[in-house]
C-alpha cells in the first residue's frame, strides 16, 4: 500500500466520521436550539427590533431578484461577449461616449440593484470608467417604468408632467457631470493600466457551467454587499424617525438637504420612491426633485454594493460630487419650474 493511500481517508471512513460528528452535535443542538429560538423570538417581538427585522427582510426580498438577474446578465456578458467586440462598440469620441451612456438606460432598463453587477462586469471587460459610471447613475432614473410611476405619483399635482421630465433631465446632467469629473481626475492621476481583457470563448456544454460559476460568484459577492447595506438601512429606518428628517425645515436648500438625507436612509426602489415623495405635501418641488434624483444614485445599500463594483477612488469621487450637484441643480431647476409654472 502506498503512502498516499494510507494518508487519504476512504469515502466510508469520511461518512462514518461525519455521522459521528452529527450524532455528537445533535444532542446539545436539540437542547440549545429551542432556547436560542425563544431568545430570538423574544428579542424580535420588541417593537423596534421587529421594525428592523421586517425592513431588513423586505429590502432583501425586493432587491435579490434584481441582483440575481443582474448577476446572470453579467455572467452572460463575461462568457459570451469578447472584450474586443465590446471595444468595437464603444464610441471613440468623448462627447459620443457621454451621450450614449445615458441612452443605454433606455435601451436596457434595469433598476439600481440590477445594474451594479452588469456595470462591474462591463468595467472588467474594458468599458471606460466614465461611461460605466454614467450608465450606472442614469439607468435607474431614465428607466421608462420609473418615469411612468413618477408621473402617476404626481398626477394630482399641478406640475405632474414636469416631475418625470425634470427627474430624467437632472439625473442625466448630474451623471454626465460626474463622468466629466472622473475623466479629469483620471487624466491628472491616471490609474494603472488594466490587464488586457482575456478572450472569452467557451464552447459546448461548458458555456453553461461557466455562466453558472460567474452567476454564483457575482451573486455571492454583491449579495454580501447588499446584505451589509440592508443591515445599516434597516437599522436607520428602525432608529431614525422619518419625522425628524422632514422636520429639519422647509427653507430652500435646507429642505432639499433633509429630503436627500431621507432618500439616503430610506433605500427605496426607484419604482416606488415617487409615491413616498408625493406624500410630503409640505415640501417644495425642488426638495422632492432632489429626493427623486439622489435616491436611485446613492443610498446606504447602493454605496455598500458600489464597494464591490467600483474602484475605491471612483467611489470617493461619486460620493463627493453627486450630493452637492443634486442639491444645487435641483434648487435651480425647482425655482425655474415654479416660476414658469
Amino acid at each position: 500500500m502506498s503512502v498516499g493511500t494510507t494518508q487519504r481517508m476512504s469515502r466510508g471512513d469520511k461518512i462514518k466520521i461525519a455521522l459521528l460528528v452529527a450524532l455528537v452535535a445533535a444532542v446539545p443542538a436539540w437542547l440549545v436550539l429551542p432556547w436560542v429560538q425563544r431568545c430570538l423570538e423574544d428579542f424580535f417581538s420588541e417593537a423596534r427590533a421587529q421594525v428592523f427585522g421586517q425592513v431588513l427582510i423586505a429590502i432583501l426580498l425586493e432587491a435579490f431578484p434584481f441582483v440575481l438577474a443582474g448577476a446572470i446578465l453579467s455572467a452572460v456578458i463575461e462568457v459570451l461577449v469578447p472584450a474586443e467586440k465590446l471595444a468595437r462598440l464603444i464610441p471613440k469620441s468623448l462627447p459620443a461616449r457621454l451621450a450614449v451612456a445615458p441612452l443605454l438606460g433606455l435601451i436596457f432598463p434595469v433598476c439600481e440593484c440590477g445594474v451594479v453587477p452588469v456595470v462591474r462586469r462591463l468595467i472588467k471587460k474594458g468599458l471606460p470608467l466614465e461611461m460605466a459610471v454614467v450608465y450606472l447613475l442614469t439607468a435607474p432614473i431614465v428607466n421608462p417604468i420609473v418615469l411612468a410611476s413618477t408621473a402617476l405619483a404626481f398626477s394630482r399635482t399641478r406640475l405632474w408632467w414636469m416631475m418625470p421630465a425634470a427627474r430624467a433631465g437632472l439625473g442625466i446632467v448630474v451623471a454626465v457631470a460626474v463622468g466629466l469629473v472622473l475623466l479629469v481626475a483620471q487624466r491628472r492621476h491616471p490609474a494603472p493600466a488594466a490587464p488586457a481583457a482575456p478572450p472569452s470563448p467557451c464552447g459546448g456544454e461548458s458555456v453553461l457551467v461557466h455562466i453558472l460559476h460567474h452567476t454564483a460568484d457575482d451573486f455571492l459577492l454583491l449579495g454580501g454587499f447588499l446584505l451589509f447595506g440592508s443591515l445599516i438601512a434597516a437599522a436607520a429606518q428602525a432608529f431614525v424617525p422619518r419625522t425628524i428628517l422632514v422636520s429639519i425645515g422647509q427653507k430652500p436648500f435646507v429642505a432639499s438637504a433633509g429630503m436627500m438625507a431621507l432618500a439616503f436612509v430610506l433605500n427605496l426602489c426607484s419604482e416606488a420612491d415617487a409615491f413616498v415623495a408625493a406624500s410630503f405635501v409640505q415640501f417644495t418641488f425642488a426638495s422632492k426633485l432632489a429626493f427623486l434624483v439622489l435616491g436611485p444614485m446613492l443610498d446606504i445599500k447602493l454605496v455598500a454594493m458600489y464597494l464591490g463594483a467600483l474602484p475605491r477612488r471612483i467611489l470617493v469621487i461619486v460620493l463627493l460630487v453627486v450630493p452637492p450637484l443634486v442639491l444645487v441643480l435641483s434648487e435651480l431647476v425647482g425655482r425655474i419650474l415654479e416660476v414658469a409654472g
Binding site: 435579490f64 463575461e78 410611476s149 449579495g223 446584505l227 433605500n267 426602489c269 416606488a272 406624500s279 405635501v281
Partner: protein, 250 residues
C-alpha cells in the same frame, strides 16, 4: 494544476447560499408570510427568483460532483478557456457565505405580523396633510354594504372625511393609542405599500370612541361609525376586535 479545459468547480461556499436563501424564500411563500414584507406582485417575483436559485444550486451540485471526480486536488486559482475565474480566498468566501445566515435567522425569528404602531408613528401617522395627500392620490375607494355601514378601507374613510355630508362607514385597521391623545381617541391605521415594507406609508384616521382607553396598541379592530366632517374624525358606534388579515397592507 487543473486542466484549463475543465469547467470550473463550484465550492460549497458558493452553493449553500443559493440553497439556503432559495429555500428560505420558498418557505416564506409557502407559509403565506411573503405579504408581511412585499406587495403580492413582488412576492411572486421573489419566489420565481428563488426557483432560479434552487435550480442553480442543483446544477451547481452536479457540476461539483462531476468536477470532484475529475480533479485530484483543488486549485485555489485557475484559468480556464482563456478567461479568469473570479477568485476569493476561502476564508473570505466562508465569511461572506455565512453572512447569508443572518437574514434567514432574523426572518425565521420575526413574529408573524405586519409593520407595527412604532413604525407608523415614525413615518408620520396622524399627520393630516400627509393623510390628505395620500387620500387624494387615489380614486375614491369603493364601499359595500355591511351591517348598515359602507364597508371600505382606511383610505376610503380618510377620503370620506373630506366630504361635506356625514357618511356611515366601516373599516379594518390596527390601533394606535398615544398617551398624549384624549381618553376617547385613537388612530385607526393601515399601511399602504408600493413595493415593500421599506416604502410603507401609514394611513391613519382619527377615531372618537368612548371606550378607546380599553384598546391596546397594534390591536386589529373593525370600526363602524359616522364621519364628522367638521372635526374630521370618525365617530365610532361600535369597535370589534378581530384577527390581523393575511395581507396587512393596502
Amino acid at each position: 494544476m487543473s486542466d484549463p479545459n475543465q469547467p470550473p468547480r463550484l465550492s460549497w461556499w458558493e452553493l449553500w447560499p443559493m440553497l439556503g436563501w432559495g429555500a428560505f424564500v420558498a418557505y416564506l411563500y409557502a407559509k403565506g408570510r411573503m405579504t408581511l414584507f412585499l406587495r403580492p406582485l413582488y412576492g411572486h417575483l421573489a419566489v420565481g427568483a428563488a426557483a432560479v436559485l434552487l435550480l442553480c444550486f442543483v446544477c451547481g451540485w452536479f457540476v461539483r460532483r462531476r468536477s470532484l471526480k475529475r480533479e485530484a486536488e483543488d486549485a485555489a486559482e485557475h484559468v480556464h478557456n482563456g478567461h479568469a475565474c473570479a477568485d476569493a480566498s476561502n476564508a473570505w468566501r466562508a465569511v461572506r457565505s455565512l453572512a447569508f445566515l443572518v437574514p434567514i435567522v432574523v426572518g425565521l425569528a420575526l413574529p408573524e405580523r405586519g409593520l407595527n404602531a412604532l413604525a407608523a408613528l415614525q413615518r408620520g401617522a396622524g399627520d393630516p396633510a400627509m393623510l390628505a395627500e395620500l387620500a387624494a392620490q387615489q380614486q375614491l375607494a369603493e364601499a359595500r354594504e355591511e351591517q348598515g355601514y359602507g364597508w371600505t378601507t382606511v383610505l376610503g374613510v380618510a377620503q370620506r372625511l373630506s366630504l361635506p355630508e356625514p357618511q356611515k362607514v366601516g373599516a379594518l385597521g390596527f390601533v394606535i393609542r398615544d398617551a398624549k391623545m384624549p381618553a376617547d381617541r385613537f388612530l385607526l391605521v393601515r399601511f399602504s405599500i408600493t413595493c415593500c415594507a421599506a416604502d410603507a406609508s401609514p394611513m391613519a384616521v382619527p377615531v372618537r370612541w368612548r371606550d378607546a382607553a380599553t384598546l391596546e396598541n397594534n390591536q386589529w379592530v373593525k370600526v363602524f361609525g359616522e364621519t364628522d366632517p367638521e372635526a374630521k374624525v370618525l365617530v365610532a358606534d361600535k369597535v370589534e376586535p378581530t384577527r390581523e388579515p393575511a395581507n396587512p397592507y393596502m
